[in-house]
């Protein structure tokens, strides 16, 4: 099936070359980081995780979001999702590739990364995160590939893909739950120390993932002969709608608890993010932008006339996707580290090399996504849907 990926239009190859160029540029910067250490990043003693881990966290959500097409199709036999299920699975694969790459580029000693397997530590949440992330990646690759191959050959998928699909559902919930547990089980970090963190992560994941999938459906419709179907997109947009509202609701619950209880250790972080703290407010404009994008997106999705507007929907989805990225990618990680456990304020901003490496990881993910989507759409075109 892979041979499909090497036959494409000029635009296809231009896009591939562009992605390879971004990857190449980032790889050169990464060599510098590999040789000289994470000193080239904006991270510090106080803010010891930054852009890499933040994007990792966000993309775990996008990967988990794929389950929002798997559940309706496989558990509820929702036929409209038949055409896009594979897109959700392949989006999860590409996102997980990025997640794993972000972990690797964040390590101080990447050559020792297999120590996690050599000295398994069942008390460490990172151990479980490694298990569920790799498990979910494996499940999606196998299931996606097998089902697509069967579709190409016009036969029923082999029987054992079904149990793997059912297994992938708890894995999808698992990857984002365990990722939240990385943060919310740490005693000294008030911003993360909340039981709502995992549900909130899942809510924003189920908004951002399907929102991105809708955008991808529009792109596919424009550039290929395969039509994912307007009805499927409409259903997806309802999923995004409820998920983003849940996310905002969970956030407001958090705001209430923090400000009404008035406990300083918890309040300081949210105050830093929303209003600035002791004169430091680098993230304040970002946070409000993110919140406004998510709120506006939610309103646009709640009102049926706006949700069903074919021209407006991709923009609404982009708003929600970007809003969720700011909330999780920028605020969630930095917010947990500022102020520090000793209540010093050290702000964080990614450096240019850090951003270039980040972009290269994204480009790698998009390369994987492009190739997988090329396969999927071509097969769908061949068999007519």
């Amino acid at each position: 099936m892979l041979e499909i990926a090497i036959k494409g239009s000029k635009n296809y190859w231009l896009w591939i070359v562009f992605l390879l160029a971004v990857i190449g540029a980032g790889a050169i910067v990464y060599i510098d980081q590999f040789m000289n250490g994470l000193m080239i990043t904006g991270m510090s003693r106080d803010v010891s995780w930054g852009f890499y881990i933040a994007n990792f966290t966000f993309l775990v959500g996008v990967a988990a979001g794929g389950v929002m097409v798997v559940i309706p199709y496989y558990l509820h036999n929702y036929e409209k999702f038949h055409r896009i299920t594979i897109l959700g699975e392949f989006l999860a694969v590409a996102s997980l590739v990025m997640c794993l790459l972000f972990i690797i580029v964040d390590l101080g000693q990447p050559t020792r990364m297999l120590n996690v397997l050599l000295y398994p530590s069942p008390k460490s949440m990172l151990f479980y995160d490694m298990l569920v992330l790799n498990g979910y990646l494996f499940l999606n690759i196998v299931v996606g590939w097998k089902v697509l191959e069967a579709e190409r050959n016009q036969v029923e998928p082999v029987w054992w893909t079904k149990p793997l699909v059912y297994l992938s559902i708890p894995f999808a919930i698992g990857i984002h739950t365990v990722t939240a547990y990385l943060y919310c089980g740490l005693p000294g970090r008030g911003y993360w120390l909340t039981a709502i963190l995992a549900p909130r992560f899942l809510a924003s994941a189920f908004a951002a993932g399907p929102a991105f999938l809708i955008i991808l459906c529009y792109i596919i419709k424009k550039f290929t002969k395969f039509d994912p179907g307007w009805e499927a997109i409409q259903t997806l947009s309802k999923i995004v709608c409820w998920a983003i509202i849940a996310n905002l609701f969970f956030f407001l619950c958090e705001v209430f608890v923090v400000y009404y209880s008035n406990i300083p250790g918890h309040k300081a972080h949210l105050t830093y993010l929303l209003f600035g703290y002791h004169g430091y407010h680098a993230l304040v404009p970002w946070m409000w932008t993110g919140l406004i994008l998510m709120f506006t997106g939610a309103i646009f999705l709640v009102i049926p006339q706006l949700r069903n507007n074919k021209a407006l929907l991709p923009f609404t989805c982009a708003m929600i996707f970007i809003g969720a990225w700011i909330d999780k990618g920028l605020g969630m990680i930095s917010g947990g580290f500022v102020p520090s456990p000793l209540h010093h304020v050290t702000e964080y901003a990614p450096t240019r090399p850090e951003i270039m490496i980040t972009l290269a990881v994204y480009a790698t993910g998009f390369l994987v996504l492009t190739i997988l989507y090329k396969l999927a759409t071509q097969v769908k075109e061949e068999v007519g849907g």
Partner: protein, 274 residues
Amino acid sequence: MMKKSRRSFLKVAGIAAIGFSASPAITFASSDSHGTAQAVKSKNKEALFAHRWGMVIDTSKITDEVVESIVEACHKAHNVPNFNHEVDAEKYPNTRPVNHKQEIKWIWEEEFHYAFPDKEDEFLAEKFHNLPFLVTCNHCKNASCVQACPTQATFKREDGIVLMDYHRCIGCRFCMAACPFGARSFNFRNPRPFIEEVVPAFPTRSKGVVEKCNFCAERLAKGEQPHCVEASEGAITVGDLEDPESEVRVLMNEHYTIRRKQSLGTEPSVYYVM
């Protein structure tokens, strides 16, 4: 199994680090050891022992001068880089400028409201405001860093000391997020250009690993007091928390002591006499 091999590794490492002897494995692991004799795997008879090591810091005896000599003694002996040190351009050409936010510290001075942020008080007694407080790793009984570490590079010894294996650490920095006391530092860069004079008795670290106070485990193994205790002019005492007769327990009985962020339940082993 794991515990046993680690314990024996430490016994050997303690001895190898001071350069008396080294097994082939240790010679391989620790570039600073020069010994060639067979490793001695029995416990040093002079070694200081405790069921659970603890520290009492008498804040009334801590002055700026004492702080300075303690920090210097600790950091020098453990090859902790000093980012203010002027780099030898011949030995380390093309060294890039430092980012002081990425500094390394094992023990350092903080003001009261940073050392005890949960005891913030607008009517705090005047005398505490500018008093120097020494902070370091608390060698917590329920250490959240030990729990977080995905490779057991950070581990707890039977005597309560939380130690690090710099050769196993993958640099994921989960322990730094887990520590509620900001006790841990990450080597964002090669620290060696910033070490004024390398002390061969203790290993230097490479880039990409986390480090912190080790309660001078290498000195206890030789029957010596930690560097900070020796430099403290009587302000710091270490001893067995579980022995009611020990010096630290006597001090705790005689004086009112507090610990940092006690409410989190990590059970710090460093006590402050107020």
